[in-house]
Amino acid sequence: MSTDAITLPRAEAAARPFVDRLHEWVTTVDHKRLGILYITYALVFLVIGGIEAGIMRIQLIRPHNDFVSPQVFNRMFTMHGTTMIFFVVMPLVFGFANYLMPLMIGARDMAFPRLNAFSFWLTAFGGLLLYFSLVGANGLYGAGNAPDVGWFAYAPLTSRTFSVGHSTDFWTLSLLVSGFGSIGTAINIVATVLCMRCPGMTLAKMPLFAWLNIVMAGLVILAVSPLTAAQIMLLIDRYLGGHFFDTQAGGSAVIWMHFFWIFGHPEVYVLVLPAFAFASEIIPVFSRKPIFGYPVMVAATVAIGFISMSVWAHHMFTVGMSANATTFFVASTMAIAVPTGIKIFNWLATMWGGKIEFKTPMLFCIGFLFQFLVAGLTGIMLGCAPFNWQLGNSYFVVAHFHYVIVGGILFATFGAFYYWFPKVSGKMYNETLGRLHFWLFLIGFHLTFDFMHVPGLLGMPRRIYTYEPGRGWDVWNLIVTVGVFFQALGIVIFIANLIWSYFRGKAAGHDPWDAWTLEWSTTSPPPAYNFASMPVVRSRRPLWDLKHPNDPDWKYE
């Protein structure tokens, strides 16, 4: 395939006024620009969500602290959770998928470029609507009323009786709107992967990145719909005289939980499968070996997708389900551990016998492997229902899911940032700053989230704005808070590195990592049309075949 670019006249490019360039970005349907918009949007909200976490941790640094009032604290944990899941990790996931998917399958763009843009702007507007609650909607207690019902907004706390004013409505509506954006992008991903692969790229030859993202997209379509339905039912309860969740009138609080978690559990697989995708692309390149067990990895991915639809009530072990129902959900939760473990073993086997280079992307992926292992094991503990009756709704759970999302997903995502930054910007990032980010963030992450398990084991529930002294929780909370500052510093260095390297980094060339997938065959950054001529592939690693004509992959696959 061609590594040339068709040159365009550059005379007009420099002279365009700012307003024109802004207009181009706002009206773009180019998957690469939309990817950058998603990722930039997510980074802004990462900082905001991080500040919300910082506020909570300062409040909890000692018992009976009065840094913020209980009302503010309760809004903080609601906004932090909602922001991080819907307006940070999901936009990151969609942003990377948007940017990389067409390039990796040799396509010109996503299948539906205008739907792509529409979906981005729906998601973006949803986030802005959520944050407008801080200034809009005077509630009972004065101006500014962010929702304070928790990110899963259990009924009947969300009814008009217990949530006066409009704060809950901002939560409901912002997720309703961004949910449609998510479904639009998911449809786009499925159509693109199924219909737009380049010649020779059968489903069995496409990168694992594509497999993981198409399963993720299927989960989005299946999972966001129940959430949307639940949001509509909640609005009907609140404003149109409905009683779906109105327990005073015979409605059911438990049915909200079922609807929410039928969304909520597949949602966490939506968040994690793209992280698996990053690891599956980065670990082989920096181990200098192909991914071990590609067919098994595909099978495990599909298995995870299916099983994840059947485990949701492990979030509800304490609500009083029958012993039979509880036992079923223990079984399904245990079952999903098997394909997940298989993936970890396959990544390890990829590294085994390789020649590992510890560049920043690989450092973050090794961190991902270790932390995802631990997170999976605490997940198994939580999946044992009686153990869950102690650990559930405590800081053990908070530690577990932050281990998955921060220790697993965010670490893999940082790896992805550093790995593909040269492709997107055309410049190399600063390796020293990258390593500094890694070590600072690693230390901060472990200070915070390792020790966060302990208060859970010692009886500290979640979502409490303060706690009693003498329960043995004090020193652990202090250590947890200290770790936040290391992580914050790491993020500052990360963003500084991105900005500085964009302007002053060395030119990266089209393939700085000596990698094997199609995106590395075009220029950095890619031209608007991606490839000058349509790539034709014969194996899973088309660039390996080009670089090793005497020893191509298609002879052995």
Partner: protein, 349 residues
């Protein structure tokens, strides 16, 4: 009450844990110094069963962690690219069916073992039948306090639950029905049992059979609104004699005392009686805690403050100083009225 297992899971797990030197064994302290709410210091059969299972699960997951971490650490060290590397690619291995089979079958077996151990404990806790000598308590969760009714004993109280101690040979467990008057709550006293939620329109139940007398602490474990953090739990496990004495005292109506009649009049002519009950008087409100034997409790406001005269006075005058946004209104009484009212409340023993 304790399920009899042919396999001594706790013994087995403790053996395994000793080998791994796992920290939780250190938490398994009968008189916990680390924390009065540690899940590793069980004092009742449900908490005990969970503790046994948890040791097994921790042992298994600990072993998996050690194996996989060792492999990771080894590969990171052994397979790093050397300084004097010749630049050639290592052998390109695509996979191995035998290896994939091995690390599929072994996890399936591990998962099966965990599942069976878990299923057993679920059955032993959730399917336990109610013996005839069990004490029954109906717990009703409110924003942000606990109501307790003993239907068989004719007792109504709030926030501090009293139960008799149970010995293993002739158990006298307490069965607790869990209801809610408003939103979701959760009853969690870690040393006595796992938590069970209180969900409106969805009655739940749980049981405890504490083996040792003492006070057991806990708190609400399902976010229920602004003061979720201060909906604390205190369970007083007493000897049978002491418990019977407590029941007798709680069944008495409030004693009427001539010297505090002014305070009683204030109580009965302001809004107090709309929310609170004092048995034997005109006060029969149901929205707030029963105050008939208020002074028999160690704490007020669901554990938010010790039950002293100063705190009682402060609570009535300005609840926000103790528990902002609780549903107790500030009563706006003058100082002499406040003093008289507090004097009256202090007679409610």
């Amino acid at each position: 009450m304790r399920s009899r297992s042919s396999i001594n899971w706790r013994g087995l797990a403790s053996q395994v844990l000793v080998c791994f030197g796992a920290a939780p064994a250190a938490f398994a302290d009968p008189a916990p110094r680390l924390s009065p709410t540690s899940i590793f210091a069980p004092a009742s059969t449900p908490a005990d069963s969970i503790f046994g299972l948890s040791l097994f699960v921790l042992a298994v997951t600990g072993a998996i962690f050690v194996v996989v971490f060792t492999l990771l650490a080894y590969s990171v060290v052994k397979f790093r690219k050397n300084a004097g590397d010749d630049g050639r690619e290592p052998p390109q291995v695509y996979g191995s069916n035998q290896v994939e089979l091995a690390w599929t079958v072994i996890p399936v077996l591990i998962v099966l073992a965990l599942f069976m151990a878990t299923g057993r404990v679920i059955a032993s806790i959730q399917k336990a039948s109610t013996p005839s000598n069990a004490i029954t308590v109906i717990t009703i969760g409110h924003q942000f306090w606990w109501e307790y009714r003993y239907p068989g004993l004719g007792v109504v109280t709030a926030n501090e639950l009293h139960v008799p101690v149970s010995n293993l040979e002739r158990p006298t467990p307490t069965f607790i029905q869990l209801l809610s008057a408003d939103t979701d709550h959760s009853f969690w006293v870690p040393r006595l049992a796992g938590k069970t939620d209180l969900i409106p329109n969805h009655p739940n139940h749980m049981w405890i059979d504490p083996h040792e007398t003492g006070v057991y602490l806990g708190q609400c474990a399902q976010y229920c609104g602004t003061q979720h953090a201060k909906m604390l739990l205190r369970v007083y496990v007493q000897s049978r004699d002491e418990f019977d004495r407590w029941v007798q005292e709680q069944r008495q109506p409030a004693s009427v005392n001539a010297t505090t009649s002014q305070g009683q009049r204030i109580f009965e002519t302001t809004a107090c009686i709309n929310c609170h009950t004092v048995a034997g008087t005109a006060a029969d409100g149901l929205f707030g805690p029963d105050l008939t034997h208020l002074m028999s409790r160690d704490t007020i406001a669901a554990g938010a403050a010790p039950n002293t005269r100063e705190n009682l006075r402060l609570w009535i005058q300005n609840p926000a100083a103790i528990k902002p946004v609780s549903l107790m209104p500030a009563m706006q009484l003058s100082d002499p009225d406040m003093d008289a009212l507090t004097d009256y409340l202090e007679t409610l023993r």
